[in-house]
C-alpha cells in the first residue's frame, strides 16, 4: 500500500488506475462466468436458429424428430437467445458498469456466482421442456410457469444489489448509464412476474391474456435489453473516444421519455385483434411517441461521435457499439411506423415482423453487447484479445449477416403482406414467392454463426489466457503505421 501511495503523489492518475483495477478484480469471476455462459447460449441458440431457418424452405429437414419440429425449435431458439445469451451478457455488463460507475467493488460475489449457475440450470431445464413439447405457446414466455417463477427470483437479488450499490457509491454524480441500469433492474422483474402471474393464473382469461402477453413481450426488449444496451453505449462511446457525452439535458430527456412511453407500446401487436379499440390506439400512440427518446439518444450519441468517426477503424469496442447504436435508431423508427394501423395492415403476420425483431435484438442489442465484452473482458482477465483477425471475422460476418437478414426478410415480408391482402392471389403462390428470401435468411444465419464461432474462439482463448500480456490493445488495425492527427492521443486509444 505504501508504495502505491507514493506513486499517487507523483502521478495522480495511477491511483485512479489502481482503484479501477481493484474494482475490475472484484468483478472478475462473476462477470466472466455470466459472459462465458452467455457465449455458450449464443452458440446453442445459433444452432437452433439454423435448424428453424432451414425448415422454412426445406420442410423435410429433420422432420422425423418430434423434438426438432419447427413449433419447438423456434421457441427454444428464442428463449435460448433472450434468457440465455441476451440476459446473461446483459447482467454481466450491468454488474461491471454498476461497479465501475459507482466506484465500489462488486459486493455479494459468491451469491452472484451461485445465481449465475442457478440461472443456467433453469434456462437449460426450460429449453429442454420446450423441446420435449411442454412449452406454453405464449410467445416469449414459453418456459413452463414454474421456471418463470424460479428465474424471476434472481431479479429480486439484482434489484436489491443495484439499490445497495447505488446507496453505497463513492461517486456522488449519477451518470446516465446508471439510471438506465437501475431502471432495467426494477422494470424487468416487475414485468416478468406480473406477466407470469397474469397469464398463468386461472383468473386470467381470453383477451386479457393476449394483452398481457404482448405488453410483456414488447417490453422485454424495451425495458430490459434496451436500457442495458443504451447504458453500455452511453458508457463505451465517450470512454473510448475520450470525450464527455454531448448533453446532460438530452440524457435526462431521453431516459424519462423512454420510461414514460415504452411501457405503453406493446398492444400495437394486436391491431385488428378483439381488443377494445382504445387499448390498441393507446399502444400506437405510445409507439409513435417513442420517436422522442430515440431521436434524443441518437442526437446525443451522434454529437458525441462527431469528428471521431475515424476511430471506428481501430477500436473493436467502438465499432460494435456504434453499429448497435445506429441500429437502435433504425429499429425504433421502423417500430414506430409499424405501429400505425395503415402500415401494420401490410406488415403484420409476415416475415417483415421477424426481420424487425431481429434488428432490435441482434443488430442493436447483441452488437452493443459484443462491444461491451470486447472492452470489459481484457480488463477482467488481464490479457489482450488473442487475434485481431478473428475480431474482424466476427464483425464483418455479423454485420453483413444481420444486414442481409433484415433486408431480405423486410422485402419478402412487405410483398408477402401486400399479396396476402389481395384475395385473388392463391396462398401457395405467396409461399413460393418468399422461398428465395428464406434461403437468403439461412445464408445470413450461416454468416452470423461463423461470426459467433470466431467470437467464441476469442472468448475461450481469453479465458485460457492465451492472449498477449497487457502491452498493446488488440485493435482492428495497428495505429502505429497510420499518420493520424493528433498522434499522441491515438497512441493510447482504448481497446
Amino acid at each position: 500500500m505504501n508504495s502505491e501511495d507514493n506513486v499517487s503523489v507523483t502521478h495522480p492518475r495511477t491511483t485512479d488506475a489502481q482503484r479501477r483495477f481493484e474494482i475490475d478484480r472484484s468483478c472478475r469471476e462473476v462477470v466472466v462466468f455470466w459472459y462465458v455462459s452467455a457465449v455458450c447460449w449464443l452458440l446453442f441458440g445459433s444452432l437452433l436458429a439454423m435448424i428453424a431457418s432451414i425448415k422454412m424452405h426445406t420442410p423435410g429437414f429433420l422432420a422425423d424428430a418430434a423434438w426438432l419440429t419447427f413449433g419447438r425449435v423456434r421457441p427454444a431458439h428464442l428463449n435460448a437467445m433472450i434468457y440465455g445469451w441476451a440476459s446473461m451478457s446483459g447482467v454481466g455488463t450491468l454488474l461491471w458498469l454498476m461497479a465501475r460507475l459507482s466506484k465500489i467493488k462488486l459486493p455479494w460475489r459468491e451469491m452472484l456466482l451461485i445465481a449465475g449457475i442457478y440461472w443456467n440450470v433453469f434456462v437449460a431445464i426450460g429449453i429442454w421442456q420446450i423441446l420435449a413439447g411442454n412449452g406454453t405457446s405464449i410467445e416469449w414466455l414459453e418456459f413452463p410457469w414454474w421456471i418463470s417463477i424460479a428465474l424471476g427470483a434472481v431479479f429480486a437479488i439484482l434489484i436489491v444489489l443495484a439499490v445497495k450499490m447505488l446507496t453505497t457509491r463513492r461517486e456522488k454524480h449519477l451518470y446516465v448509464s446508471q439510471w438506465y441500469l437501475l431502471g432495467a433492474t426494477i422494470w424487468f422483474p416487475f414485468l416478468y412476474i406480473t406477466a407470469t402471474v397474469l397469464i398463468h393464473s386461472p383468473a386470467a382469461i381470453g383477451v386479457a391474456k393476449g394483452t398481457t402477453n404482448w405488453w410483456f413481450a414488447h417490453n422485454v426488449l424495451g425495458l430490459w435489453l434496451t436500457p442495458i444496451g443504451l447504458a453500455s453505449a452511453y458508457y463505451m462511446i465517450p470512454k473510448v473516444i475520450g470525450r464527455p457525452i454531448y448533453s446532460y439535458a438530452l440524457s435526462i430527456l431521453g431516459f424519462w421519455t423512454l420510461a414514460l412511453f415504452y411501457n405503453w407500446a406493446g398492444t400495437h401487436h394486436l391491431i385488428g385483434g378483439p381488443l377494445p379499440a382504445w387499448v390498441i390506439t393507446v399502444g400506437t400512440v405510445g409507439s409513435l411517441m417513442m420517436f422522442v427518446p430515440v431521436i434524443t439518444v441518437a442526437v446525443n450519441h451522434h454529437m458525441t461521435m462527431v469528428s471521431h468517426f475515424k476511430k471506428l477503424k481501430f477500436s473493436p469496442t467502438l465499432r460494435f457499439t456504434v453499429f448497435g447504436a445506429m441500429a437502435y435508431t433504425v429499429v425504433s423508427v421502423q417500430g414506430s411506423l409499424t405501429a400505425l394501423r395503415t402500415v401494420n395492415l401490410t406488415g403484420h403476420f409476415t416475415h417483415y415482423t421477424i426481420a424487425h425483431a431481429h434488428l432490435g435484438v441482434y443488430a442493436f442489442y447483441s452488437m452493443v453487447a459484443y462491444g461491451a465484452m470486447y472492452y470489459i473482458m481484457p480488463r477482467l482477465i488481464e490479457r489482450e484479445w488473442y487475434s485481431s483477425n478473428l475480431i474482424k471475422v466476427h464483425f464483418w460476418c455479423t454485420a453483413v449477416g444481420i444486414t442481409m437478414y433484415w433486408v431480405g426478410l423486410t422485402w419478402a415480408g412487405w410483398f408477402q403482406g401486400m399479396m396476402m391482402n389481395n384475395p385473388d392471389i392463391p396462398f401457395l403462390d405467396i409461399v413460393r414467392y418468399t422461398i428465395p428470401f428464406l434461403w437468403s435468411r439461412s445464408i445470413a444465419g450461416i454468416l452470423m454463426t461463423i461470426g459467433h464461432l470466431a467470437f467464441a474462439i476469442l472468448v475461450f482463448r481469453m479465458v485460457r489466457r492465451d492472449g498477449a500480456w497487457l502491452v498493446e490493445p488488440t485493435l482492428l488495425r495497428s495505429i502505429k503505421n497510420q499518420q493520424m492527427e493528433p498522434a499522441p492521443r491515438l497512441e493510447g486509444a482504448d481497446l
Binding site: H11, P12, R20, H173, I271, P276, A277, P426, G492, D494
Partner: protein
Amino acid sequence: MTEPEQSGNMHALNPFEQENRESTDVPELHRAVLREQFEPSEGEQRAPLLLLLGIIAMAMFGGWYLSAYDGDFDPHNYDGPDAFTSTGRETDNRTPKVIDPMLLGKRIYNNCLSCHQPNGEGLPGKYPPLNQSEWVAGDDRILARILLSGLTGPITVKDKRFNGQMPGWGQLSDRDLAALLTYVRASWENEFPAVSESTITEARSEIGTREAWTLEELKSLKLPAKAKSDQDHAEPEASSKQDQNRELKK
C-alpha cells in the same frame, strides 16, 4: 472542441498528455486500466431547438391520433372496420346489438380459408371447392352434419375426386355455425338459401358427438322430409341475402 472531463481532480493531466507509457513504477497489470480515458461524464450543451419543436409536434400528432381512434373509450368498441356487431354509437348502448350473419360468417370463415381458400375454390387435388359445390347447394341438414363432425375419406365434388380429412367444428356455437353456412352459401357465385340456427341445433342434438363422417355414411342417412314451415321460412331469408351481399361488398 469539448475537453474530456477531469473527474473533479484538478491535478489530473490533460488527456492529450495523460499517457505515460514509459513509467516503470506502475505495475504491468495496470496497463489496461492505465491507458483508459477518464470515466465518462456529461457535457452541458442545451437540447437543440429543432429537436424540441419536433417533440412538441410529435406530442400534438399523438394527441390527435388518440382522439381520432379512441373508439369513445368504449370497451365494446372493437378494432377494425369489420367488427361484426353494429357499434350502436348513435343509439342507446343498452339496446341489443344486431348481428349480421354475413359479417359474422365471414369472420368465422377465417378458420376455413387456409384449406378452402378466400375465393372458395379450395386447392385442386387437395381440398374441395365450396363455390358452386353440389354439397353446399344440397340439403343444409347434411351440410350441418359435415360441419359439426367433419368428413374423412374419398368424396367427389364438381366431378373431381378428393381424399382428405376435414375436422369437425362442433366446438363453435350454433349461431356461429349457422352464420358460417349462410355466408358460404351466399358468397362468390353461390346463391343458395340461408341456414337457420335451428337447423344446426337439431343436427347437433340428433348426432351427438361422433367421429368424422364418410361418404357412405352420409349417403345412407335417412333424413325426414323437410317440414313445410321450414321451407316457407327460408324464402324471406333468401331474399334478404341479396341485401347482405351488397352490404358485404361495401
